[in-house]
């Protein structure tokens, strides 16, 4: 175990109920989880099998156990040369958790069936695991790439689950140096419909925007926006539940706030009007200045002093930026989200 604290990576994950399940009054069977532990950031996504009565419990159990296990054992796992033993170790841990869950719900293991997608980063390395449908994608200096395509059977309603007899043989794992990789996305087959081109096997341009926003906007502000985007846009293209989990860090592909063109900064600061107008451009400059100041944490009093304005005025400006999510407040200190 080791590694330095990996604070530059940010993560977000979200799952929404599909129209099919809403009509039948069934719970959302897509589940997501994220975890930051020991300098490792992990995201996981599981899509509960439609045919399995309690797969929403199964999928939740799978993502919880998977994130905890990878967070704990990341460096051991990526040090191993034998991929098969890594696959078996992960599946054994998950199946054990599912057996406990099955006892709790007094059901069969197959009633908890789900797919599994994992991405983890730590100390300049990454680890990915994929079983079943859904897509794992990433972003490097050349743009968006697909790491693992959906593992469907021939027909649309066929795939493999953690409880399938052939799960170990079908699970794909990847590891390597992060180098210029600055984003990972996990998506369920419901989200695939809008965020993945099945014919070309490429990711939609929207994925990069999601990764970028993950870097620039505070998770608490971004989360309801992501939920709304999945519900109103992505879920409208499918009957299925929709989920994504994202890991991202700023890079040349995902520039920090101060490297963005004025129009994008204006959008992020949520300032309306043409930036050709003096009032608008002045407002943007003021926000720029505050974000620059807050590259290190400052209190309200310190911000006001540095801006040569009254505290009330500074507070108003800070409130706007907090609402936009480009700065966050921790205790009494304010700080820019993407430095």
């Amino acid at each position: 175990m080791g590694g330095t604290l990996n604070t530059e990576w940010k993560s977000i994950c979200c799952a929404v109920q599909g129209r099919g399940h809403a009509k039948k009054n069934l719970p959302c069977q897509d589940k997501v989880a994220r975890l930051e532990e020991n300098g490792v950031q992990v995201i996981a996504l599981a899509d509960g099998a439609g045919s399995a009565a309690l797969s929403h419990y199964g999928a939740q159990c799978v993502v919880n156990r998977a994130t905890a296990f990878i967070g704990d054992r990341f460096f051991d796992l990526i040090a191993q040369e034998d991929g098969r033993s890594v696959t078996l170790e992960i599946l054994n841990v998950i199946l054990q958790a599912l057996k406990d869950e099955a006892e709790l719900h007094d059901c069969a293991l197959k009633d908890l069936a789900s797919t599994l997608l994992i991405a983890a980063v730590g100390d300049g390395k990454f680890f990915l695991a994929h079983l079943g449908d859904g897509v794992i994608g990433y972003l490097n200096e050349d743009g968006l790439k697909v790491a693992s395509i959906p593992d469907n059977g021939e027909f649309s309603n066929e795939t493999v689950f953690v409880t399938s007899a052939n799960a170990a043989a079908r699970m794909r794992i990847f590891k390597g140096a992060l180098k210029n990789i600055s984003g990972f996305i996990l998506m369920s087959d419901g989200s695939e419909q809008s965020l993945y081109n099945k014919r070309k096997k490429t990711l939609a341009g929207a994925v990069k925007r999601l990764m970028h926003r993950t870097c620039l906007i505070d998770g608490e502000i971004l989360m309801p926006q992501l939920e709304e985007a999945l519900s109103s846009v992505v879920a409208s293209n499918t009957q299925d539940d929709c989920s994504v989990a994202i890991l991202a860090r700023t890079s040349a592909q995902l520039p920090p706030l101060d490297a963005l063109p004025m129009s994008e900064r204006q959008e992020l600061f949520q300032i309306r009007g043409s930036h050709a107008l003096r009032k608008v451009s002045k407002e943007i400059s003021c926000c720029d200045k505050i974000c620059e100041l807050l590259k290190r944490p400052l209190t309200l009093r310190q911000v006001a002093r540095r801006l040569y304005v009254k505290r009330l005025h500074a507070k108003k400006k800070l409130r706007r930026l907090l609402k936009a999510g480009v700065i966050r407040k921790d205790n009494h200190c304010y700080e820019t989200v993407s430095c």
């Binding site: 099919g20 099998a49 439609g50 027909f155 649309s156 993945y196 099945k198 929207a206 925007r209 846009v233």
Partner: protein, 258 residues
């Protein structure tokens, strides 16, 4: 419009398809009268392997079947998911095997569909093997097109309806039986063999279907059958990975006997 996701940055993948091939008997015997007022002409004719009394008026089995097929299309078109998911192909056998309507999106077929179906006539012998082979060839070709275009699809369905017994090439019949058995046993095809009336050879139909016994239509309940079929297509088109689409066997009881 959502600020986070712009429509122009999203992909639009086609709806996963449910390919369905209707393989329908239009041999001479489908001209049998199954209802309505008739007047005997006193003439007799030997058609499709047996002697018939020629009458005027009445409703033929073919007309009833056509009504059922049109209802099937209408029901699918009314379903918000099945309308874009279902793709139907119609192969008939009467004298020879004919591809009447090739696979396409339902809306695309709509312009000519009713005319093609309504113009069906019952004549000739019952080359069932040839027709089933043609239907399977169409299904295979459509699956290849789906794969080429990156379109997901569900297990194809083959509906085979006959009121008689096959009298085409024996080699073609055996080849068709062996193909449907291989596909059905490997869960690559769902086949519904349907016997129309008491004279349909149910043993021959059974040879096509190793997993599901043929069903005999109660009377001329075509409408009930096609109603049930469209509801089953609708359920399939909304199923998700891992879903096992259970066919509603309770629903079958209304229109067929096992």
């Amino acid at each position: 419009m959502n600020d986070l996701l712009r429509k122009k940055d999203l992909e639009t993948n086609p709806t996963p398809r449910v390919p369905i091939c209707l393989c329908l008997d239009v041999s001479g015997s489908m001209n049998r009268i199954v209802g309505g007022q008739t007047r005997d002409t006193g003439r007799k004719a030997f058609i499709d392997g047996r002697e018939w009394n020629i009458v005027e008026g009445g409703v033929t089995a073919l007309r009833e079947m056509i009504g059922g097929v049109n209802l099937f299309y209408d029901n699918l078109l009314e379903d918000e998911v099945a309308r874009f998911a279902a793709e139907v192909c119609v192969v008939t056998f009467g004298g020879s095997a004919n591809l009447v309507i090739d696979f396409a999106n339902l809306d695309r077929q709509e312009g000519t569909r009713q005319q093609k179906i309504s113009n069906l006539t019952a004549q000739g012998e019952t080359p069932m093997g040839e027709a089933v082979n043609m239907a399977l060839d169409c299904l295979e070709a459509r699956k290849d097109e789906y794969k080429e275009a990156g379109v997901d699809y569900y297990q194809p369905w083959l509906v085979l309806m006959t009121d008689g017994e096959p009298n085409g090439s024996e080699a073609e019949f055996n080849r068709a039986v062996s193909r449907t058995n291989a596909l059905a046993n490997n869960r690559k095809l769902t086949i519904f063999p349907i016997a129309i009336g008491e004279e349909a050879d149910i043993d021959c139909l059974a040879k096509f279907s190793p997993r599901r016994p043929p069903l005999r239509l109660k009377g001329m309940n075509f409408k009930e059958f096609f109603e049930w079929l469209s509801q089953s297509v609708s359920r399939t088109s909304q199923s998700m990975p891992g879903d096992t689409v259970k066919l509603d066997t309770e629903g079958i009881k209304g229109w067929a006997e096992l």
